[in-house]
C-alpha cells in the first residue's frame, strides 16, 4: 500500500479525534476522543516504521532492525495512555462525586 494512504487515514482519524474534543461536552467522551487521537498516531507510527524498514531493506541492509523504534514508541504510548487513563478517570470520578456532572461547560468557577 502506498504509505500516503496510511498517512491520510491516520490524519483523518486524528482530526476526527480533534473535532470530537472540540464538539463534545462530556469529559469522558472528550477523553475518548483524545484516545482516538493517540491511536491514530500509533497507526501512523507503525506505518512509518514499516516504511523505514522497507526502505532499509531496499537499501540492501540485511537483518536490519530499522523502524523498530517506532513500534517500541507505540508500545510506550500505550503504556503512558494506560497511566493517563488511570489518573484521568480518577479525576473525572472525583469531579463527578463533587458536582454530579461531567459536563465541561459547567467547569467555570475559574475564569477571567
Amino acid at each position: 500500500m502506498p504509505i500516503n494512504y496510511y498517512i491520510f487515514l491516520a490524519i483523518i482519524l486524528f482530526c476526527i479525534g480533534v473535532t470530537g474534543v472540540l464538539t463534545r461536552r462530556n469529559a469522558i467522551i472528550i477523553f475518548m476522543c483524545i484516545e482516538l487521537m493517540l491511536n491514530s498516531v500509533n497507526l501512523l507510527l507503525v506505518a512509518f516504521s514499516k516504511m523505514h524498514h522497507a526502505r532499509a531493506l531496499a537499501a540492501g541492509a540485511a537483518n536490519t532492525t530499522a523502524g523498530i523504534e517506532a513500534q517500541l514508541f507505540v508500545f510506550f504510548i500505550m503504556v503512558v495512555a494506560a497511566a493517563e487513563v488511570a489518573v484521568g478517570l480518577a479525576i473525572i470520578v472525583m469531579m463527578y462525586r463533587n458536582t454530579h456532572s461531567v459536563d465541561i461547560n459547567f467547569l467555570n468557577r475559574l475564569k477571567n
Binding site: 500500500m1 504509505i3 500516503n4 494512504y5 496510511y6 498517512i7 487515514l9 482519524l13 482530526c15 476526527i16 480533534v18 473535532t19 470530537g20 472540540l22 464538539t23 463534545r24 461536552r25 462530556n26 469522558i28 467522551i29 477523553f31 475518548m32 476522543c33 484516545e35 482516538l36 491511536n39 491514530s40 500509533n42 497507526l43 507503525v46 506505518a47 514499516k50 516504511m51 522497507a54 531493506l57 532492525t65 530499522a66 523502524g67 523498530i68 523504534e69 513500534q71 517500541l72 507505540v74 508500545f75 500505550m78 503504556v79 503512558v80 495512555a81 494506560a82 497511566a83 487513563v85 488511570a86 489518573v87 478517570l89 480518577a90 479525576i91 470520578v93 472525583m94 459536563d103 461547560n105
Partner: protein
C-alpha cells in the same frame, strides 16, 4: 486490487465510519462501543502491516482494558443515556470547521512531502514479539525502566485522588 488492498479499504472505511460515530453519538455508551470498533479496525491495520505484537496489545490494552474502564466509569456514573445537553450551535459549527481546517492544513502540509510509495509494507519481522523484546530490553531499557516512575506516580496519584478521606 489485491486482497491486502481490499482489506485495507474495508478496515479504513470501518475505522473512519466508527470514529465519526464516536463523536456524533449522543449516548456515551454507544461512543465507547464505536471506539472499540475503531480500535479493532486499527488493530487490523497492524496485522496487515505485520505488527502482530502491537495488534494484540492494542486489543488487550485499549479495547480490553482501557475502554472497559471507560464503560465501567460511564455505567458507574449512570451516564448511559442521551443526557448530554447541546452545545452552542455557533460553537459547534466553529469547532467542526476548525477540525476540518486542521485536517486540510495537515494534509496539505504532508501532501507536499512527496513521501515515496513504499511497496511491501508487510515485509520484515520487526513487528514480532521476539524482535521487539530484544530491542526493548537492550537499547530501550532506560525508557522501559523510566516508565516505572510514570506508573509509580500514576499509582500514587490514583490513590491520592481516589481514596476517600
Amino acid at each position: 486490487m489485491g486482497a491486502t488492498q481490499i482489506i485495507f479499504w474495508i478496515l479504513s472505511i470501518v475505522a473512519v465510519f466508527s470514529a465519526i460515530m464516536v463523536i456524533t453519538r449522543k449516548n456515551p455508551v454507544y461512543s465507547v462501543l464505536y471506539l472499540i470498533i475503531t480500535f479493532f479496525a486499527i488493530s487490523g491495520h497492524y496485522v496487515l502491516m505485520n505488527a502482530q505484537f502491537l495488534a494484540i496489545v492494542n486489543i488487550i490494552v485499549y479495547a480490553g482494558a482501557i475502554l472497559v474502564l471507560f464503560l465501567f466509569v460511564l455505567m458507574l456514573m449512570n451516564l448511559n443515556k442521551e443526557s448530554e445537553p447541546k452545545k452552542n450551535k455557533f460553537m459547534l459549527w466553529a469547532s467542526a470547521f476548525a477540525g476540518g481546517l486542521l485536517l486540510y492544513v495537515l494534509l496539505a502540509a504532508v501532501h507536499t512531502a512527496h513521501i515515496e510509495n513504499v511497496k511491501g509494507i508487510h515485509v520484515g519481522n520487526i513487528g514480532l514479539v521476539s524482535e521487539l523484546g530484544k530491542a526493548l530490553f537492550t537499547t530501550y531499557v532506560v525508557p522501559f525502566e523510566i516508565t516505572s516512575i510514570l506508573f509509580l506516580s500514576a499509582m500514587v496519584g490514583a490513590v491520592v485522588i481516589g481514596k476517600k478521606d
